[in-house]
Amino acid sequence: MMELAMDAAIGATAGTTPLLRVEGVTKRYGARIGCADVSFDLWPGEVMGIVGESGSGKSTLLNCLAGHVPPDSGAVLFDTRDGGLRDTLTMRESERRMLSRTDWAFVHQHARDGLRMNVSAGGNVGERLMAVNARHYGRIRAKATDWLGRVEIAADRIDDRPTAFSGGMQQRLQIARNLVTGPRLVFMDEPTGGLDVSVQARLLDLLRGLVREMGLSAIIVTHDLAVVRLLADRLMVMKDGHVVESGLTDQVLDDPQHAYTQLLVSSVLQV
């Protein structure tokens, strides 16, 4: 209820349609539940965090939203540039692919899943541009160089393959590759997973800068509460496929209401 009231409040102030409206998304794996009856609105420029333990259905939910896995029921409406709010699940696949290489971006947990490891860094960044019919080598390369700079990769590494990059660099390259076409909505699946803490900190810094600068909306799935504290405006807590609590990030983290959220917050080690 609190969630609905808050959505309404934000909607009233923004006075626009939401960028993404999720209605009753449910995904079952046989008898088991992946995620059940998840609904929320995401507003332009808003960053939503989804937290929960392993197996709580947060990655399933993200894959349903991004169109990688078809949910069993529900609707995922996206505010398309030309047609307003449209259900991405009933779109033709060509339209969905077009979305996923223009207005959407997906940052995988493992950079290897999101990069072409046998293609140079410049080619990786340029792929999305070429997919939307950029056909001028010089301009593609200039844009790739620019984006490598923005994610703090030296310009002279543009012709190196990602296999020659460290884990942190690969992750930053993946982010550059995704953001080069100026998407409006970014899905991130544990973007800092598997990186050591100092590299994580730099990556978060970078992400926060890019999100603010480009006015991106993002949905970030993570089990790391520090990540959502830094990046997310709003938070959803999932357990066993259900959303158990949602609200403003600071509110949820500082004053958790649900027993599971309380457990989650108290489980964080204090250094």
Binding site: S120, R135, I158
Partner: protein, 289 residues
């Protein structure tokens, strides 16, 4: 030889292949799956081309077989003899006299006519293969016209070599729709893909047939600032002096000596017969070989 059915394959198989060919002609550049048969030659020797040739041959046909432009190499000679024995058709080395030409990795220099069929042997029909290993995914990419990846390959070429270094099997877009691998012909031959003859492509191991109908628009992929160039060695043929034909480089001694000569042997012999001579030519004799 009446022990074989005409052109080796049984009639049902030929009907199946003809159906695939008709579908391929109806959708230019689209790879049609077909039930490729075992042929009495190893994969990689042109089993796809041989099956397509067998399906289109009629007893009145005159067959020419070339391998890298030459009529007299092992592959060409053995396939020509195969059809001489199993189909009893007339064979020729002259491009203009042939009604069906099976080729490996070249398009003849002489322009082809509307009453001719050019059959290509194709090792790997999928142009996206080296970038996307999954067949399921590549078929989806063709269906959705999702071809950004093809330009990534060309981008990589330029970033590594300063120019598009792909010199054979250069990807083309057929009739503004399907991206197609023209088989490993040199990119010098790409402009010739728009021709009056029917072009059929057969890949035996990969079980695919595709086609370019006559006068179909075929565009080689490129970048605005790195346009496609049909390149060849910058020499004249040492035997016939031709400057407009695709050349092979031949090492002639162990002191760095080399010569360039037409890869299309019929074209070269025709020019020498007409009195043309290159810098390294001996006087032409009709039966020198």
């Amino acid at each position: 030889m009446n022990e074989y059915n005409f052109a080796y394959l049984d009639e049902q198989t030929k009907r199946m292949i003809r159906r695939a060919i008709l579908k391929a002609l109806a959708i230019p550049g689209y790879q049609v799956p077909f039930a490729s048969r075992e042929m009495p030659m190893p994969y990689g020797w042109g089993t796809g081309g041989v099956q397509v040739s067998a399906a289109v041959l009629v007893p009145e046909d005159t067959l020419k077989v070339i391998d890298q432009g030459a009529d007299d190499t092992t592959n060409a000679v053995s396939i020509r003899r195969f059809f001489e024995r199993t189909a009893g058709v007339a064979v020729t080395e002259a491009t203009a006299e042939a009604s069906v030409i099976q080729t490996r990795h070249r398009i003849p220099e002489a322009p082809l006519r509307a009453d001719q069929i050019l059959v290509y042997q194709v090792p790997i029909p999928e142009p996206l293969r080296f970038l996307e290993p999954s067949e399921v995914e590549t078929r989806k990419m063709h269906a959705l016209e999702d071809y950004g990846l093809m330009h990534v390959k060309l981008y990589e070429d330029i970033s590594r070599h300063g120019a598009i270094s792909t010199s054979y099997a250069y990807p083309v877009k057929v009739e503004g729709r399907y991206v197609m691998d023209p088989s490993p012909i040199p990119k010098f031959d790409n402009p010739k893909l728009e021709m009056a003859a029917i072009q059929l492509f057969g890949a035996g191991r990969e079980q695919r047939i595709y086609a370019i109908p006559p006068h179909t628009r075929v565009v080689s992929l490129d970048f605005e600032d790195h346009p496609f160039e049909a390149s060849k060695a910058d020499h004249a043929c040492g035997l016939c002096g031709a400057t407009d034909s695709y050349l092979d480089e031949l090492i002639v001694d162990d002191e760095g000596g080399r010569m360039f000569l037409c890869s299309d042997t019929d074209y070269c012999a025709g020019r020498r017969r007409a009195g043309h001579a290159g810098a390294e030519a001996a006087p032409f004799e009709e039966d020198a070989a």
